[in-house]
């Protein structure tokens, strides 16, 4: 069985594979400076792709180190209501994976901030895994998170991702066993995404000490940086988590700001919030 995506190939110039990715360089630079990565999540196409492009550039200036771009999907099983509704808005505005890659290529003419896509597997399956890896890397995507694809099912993506230099980022959860931790930590490239809570995106953040313990367990298994996400709502949350991890991922809290300011002031409001998050993460300023 093969996927037969029939849409026109994104008009993206294929470049040679970089030796070290933007993602790796960013984590190295931050480590040297004693900083932690702020990974800001945006739903691509919420409210439109032009706004997403503008937000990416603005959030880079506001202090985001890495941008995670959600690819909207009709049935996002790992997401809470905030991101579900953002996906619905993005789909209504006509967003598709192909258009997102074109936007990424446009961003790359202006910025070298690492860009990670978060896409449910069916979007990639419909596009065609091989073609997706080539086109995504050519457009300037650095990493890929597929929330409904554990490494056990990553077979069709691993080869093409590796060949094009696209990092496959996998997730670990509080429920992960020692065996799963070892497996996922080994498979994950770019960073390991540690899910701070047993639940879906935007839920209430769990016990910080628990996060610390689990991050330490992962660190013993891999040199890959560890970023923590799910349930990070405030600069205080980001500050606390950045003590344990190499990066902090903020999703629903940013998307909520975007939803609340659709009628004006969105870019400046979201930038202010991201600036507050990053400021809180600088060592010594944490509350």
């Amino acid at each position: 069985m093969r996927s037969t995506g029939r849409h026109a190939r994104a008009s993206i110039t294929h470049q040679s594979v970089r030796s070290t990715s933007r993602l790796d360089q960013t984590f190295e630079r931050l480590k040297t400076n004693g900083e932690k990565a702020l990974i800001a999540y945006l739903m691509a196409g919420d409210p439109g792709l032009a706004e997403t492009e503008e937000l990416v550039l603005a959030l880079e200036k506001a202090g985001a180190d890495i941008i995670e771009l959600g690819v909207p999907f009709s049935d996002p099983i790992a997401d809470g209501p905030v991101i579900q509704q953002a996906a619905e808005r993005a789909l209504r505005s006509g967003t598709s994976l192909r258009k997102i890659l074109l936007m990424v290529a446009a961003i790359r003419t202006k910025s070298q901030i690492p860009l990670v896509l978060m896409a449910y597997y069916n979007s990639i399956h419909a596009y065609g895994p091989d073609r997706f890896c080539q086109d995504a890397t050519a457009a300037g995507v650095d990493g890929l998170i597929v929330p409904d694809m554990p490494p056990d099912e990553a077979g069709p993506l691993r080869g093409p991702a590796c060949a094009s230099g696209l990092h496959l980022i996998f997730l670990l959860a509080p429920t992960s066993t020692a065996q799963r931790r070892a497996f996922v930590a080994r498979e994950s490239k770019g960073f390991v995404y540690y899910v701070s809570l047993t639940g879906i995106t935007g839920a209430k953040l769990a016990d910080m000490a628990d996060v610390g313990t689990n991050v330490e367990k992962i660190r013993k298994l891999s040199d890959t940086p560890i970023a923590v996400g799910f349930g990070v709502a405030t600069p205080q949350d980001a500050a606390r988590l950045s003590r344990y991890a190499d990066g902090v991922i903020v999703g629903s809290a940013i998307v909520r700001q975007i939803a609340a300011h659709q009628n004006g002031g969105m870019v400046s409001e979201v930038s202010n919030f991201v600036h507050a998050l990053k400021t809180a993460m600088v060592p010594g300023t944490a509350p």
């Binding site: 996927s3 999907f73 049935d75 419909a126 639940g199």
Partner: protein, 404 residues
């Protein structure tokens, strides 16, 4: 027929694959629970005490074996093949769903999970799960699309009567698909205390395999019963296919009987050409939804399409992965009938045989109406009457402008 059918024990494989279909496409948070469930189920399957317990409840509580009834008047009326009905509508709670709910309820107890959750479309699986929860003393929450809650109001009240919480899901198409997503989110959040009793041969491994096994009692009984009644196997099996658990349950015991044809009937809604249907094999292509790789109704970008059927239990964008596999190797075939054809069959069975079928099962009857007259009188057509239609009476009355 050019079938290469591996022995039952090898399907699915270790990764939960039925050929290219199936698998485990879930968030990492769920992986340990799926692996635990797979281990527990593998042990329970071999555990004589567990099997005895299951057999006890199926006999004494569900009322198995269900009869295989020769529908004499329907046969005469259609003027072709002899029609037999496997009477799953006579199971306690009114549908085959309880076979699986009992099995998984026992597993939940075995895993010491005090809480169970389930999704439901037509409400039959929800009622079966709520029933099992009451009987085993488990806490229970049922997710149901708000559109389905409206068309199946009676079953919503039944579930609440049985002590379960029914939570409406107001996302997407507000039907079965959205109820499953919400149940998966609940399970992701409450995994340590909760077992998710999925209702059809869908979702991530081991669900399609495990639910198939629990439902395969239907075909095992039917095979014995038809041999006793006719001294030979049927020529053709017909079952409706939403997720496809009643169909796989009937088909499985006959898979190696190469002369027995098997037909799954999907929901044709307003007609496949209208785009308002749930006929995955006519209008869909392979993809991943809610944990499994299978045939899906989706657009070019892989977004899941909205479906339509008069029958809430068939109104779903994906089909069980084993059906995709059996179709691919040529062992089973699939067709669809429209809402109107199903409604006509609903009336026909009520008037000819005094049996009001579930609208889901009426799809299987409707296909039999089409093929039986073309078959010789010495042929045997065995239809799975997967559920009874009491739950649909209000909806059908409403559609006819009658207020009860």
């Amino acid at each position: 027929m050019n079938t290469k059918l591996p022995r039952q024990a090898t399907i699915p494989d270790q990764q939960g694959r039925f050929g290219a279909y199936g698998g485990r496409y879930v968030p990492e948070t769920l992986m340990p629970a799926l692996l635990e469930l797979e281990r527990e189920y593998a042990q329970a399957r071999k555990d004589r005490a567990f099997q005895q317990q299951l057999g006890y409840y199926l006999k004494e509580y569900v009322g198995r074996p269900t009869p295989l009834y020769f529908a004499e008047r329907l046969t005469k009326r259609l003027g072709g093949a002899k029609i037999y009905l496997k009477r799953e509508d006579l199971c306690h709670t009114g549908a085959h769903k309880i076979n699986n709910a009992i099995g998984q309820g026992l597993l939940a107890k075995r895993m010491k999970k005090p809480r169970i959750i389930a999704e439901t479309g037509a409400g039959q699986h929800g009622v079966a799960t709520a029933t099992v929860a009451a009987m085993f003393g488990l806490q229970c929450e049922i997710y149901m699309g708000t559109e389905d809650m409206q068309r199946q109001a009676l079953n919503v009240f039944r579930m609440r009567l049985l002590g379960s919480t029914v939570t409406g899901v107001d996302a997407g198409s507000r039907t079965l698909k959205d109820a499953i997503s919400e149940a998966m989110r609940d399970w992701t959040t409450n995994i340590r205390t909760t077992h998710y009793i999925l209702g059809s041969v869908l979702g991530a491994h081991p669900y399609p395999m495990m639910i198939r096994d629990f439902q395969s009692i239907i075909g095992k009984e039917a095979r014995k019963q038809i041999l006793a009644a006719e001294g030979r196997l049927p020529d053709c099996l017909v079952a409706c296919v939403g997720g496809g658990s009643n169909a796989i349950g009937l088909f499985h015991a006959f898979l190696h009987d190469k002369k027995v044809r098997m037909i799954g009937v999907e929901a044709g809604g307003l007609g496949v050409a209208s785009g308002k249907h749930a006929a995955r094999f006519s209008g869909g292509k392979p993809g991943v939804l809610q944990g499994t790789m299978t045939y899906l109704l989706q657009n070019e970008d892989g977004q899941i399409n909205l479906t339509h059927s008069v029958s809430a239990g068939l109104d779903y964008a994906a089909v069980g992965p084993e059906h995709s596999y059996l179709r691919e190797i040529g062992r089973t075939t699939y067709t669809s009938v429209t809402d109107d054809e199903a409604l006509a069959a609903f009336d026909l069975l009520a008037r000819e045989e005094g049996i009001v079928p579930a609208l889901e099962s009426a799809h299987a009857i409707a296909h039999a109406v089409q093929i039986a007259p073309k078959m010789q009188r010495n042929r045997i057509l065995l239809i799975n009457l997967s559920g009874r239609g009491d739950k649909d009476v209000q909806q059908v009355a409403r559609m006819r402008g009658i207020s009860l």
